[in-house]
Amino acid sequence: MLVQSTRFGEVEVSEEGILEFPYGIPGFLEEKTFALLPYQADSPFSLLQSVNDPNLTFILIEPFSFFPDYQFEIDDEMVKELDLSEEQPPQIFNIVKKLGKIENMTVNLGAPIVVSWHKKIAMQYLIENTTYSIRHPLFPQEVGAQLKGGK
């Protein structure tokens, strides 16, 4: 299907890349259908583009290449809704935000996006009682400095 994006123009998306967010995404509850697009081969970033609103685009990362120890528990209700199991684990993404400089990008570790590919359903999950920040620096300081150095 063709998806319109203000930032990326017209993008052809295969049906496999389309996800339903039955509860919307906090702040954007009306939008329930999104396309998940890899940003480019070998990039840790992906784009989450609303199918209906060309202006609504999130940048996501897969957290584990940045934060190998990242972990949280998904509650039973959600496990059931997303039909998750050892055989069919979720894929986890986190929304990133860039205010100002790229080395200051932050990632929302407190409210990950949990995707069930076999159900084609995803949710933003607010982890209960977590110490994970919703605006955690994406890059450790030394990497940030490298980026700044024009790498």
Partner: protein
């Protein structure tokens, strides 16, 4: 906003399928019990508001030129 006075153990019913019960009061903290269908997601207000604000900021601050810069970042960093 509708404001109702309730005692411990009393409840209010919202829309016939959500029941909020005052479980206890300790100082200025009130413990609520909430019964609702599983489709009704329940969050602490300030946490939810924080996520909403962060999501909106993540979307509004995204610009294409800046995205070019993340092209240099590969999976193995």
């Amino acid at each position: 906003m509708l404001a109702l006075t309730r005692k411990v153990g009393e409840s209010i019913v919202i829309g016939g399928n959500i029941v909020v019960t005052i479980v206890g009061i300790k100082g200025d903290s009130i413990r609520l019990g909430i019964e609702a269908a599983k489709e009704i997601k329940i969050y602490r207000g300030e946490i939810y508001d924080d996520i909403v604000a962060e999501n909106k900021l993540a979307v509004s601050s995204l610009d294409l030129q800046e995205l070019e810069k993340i092209k240099s970042i590969s999976k193995d960093k």
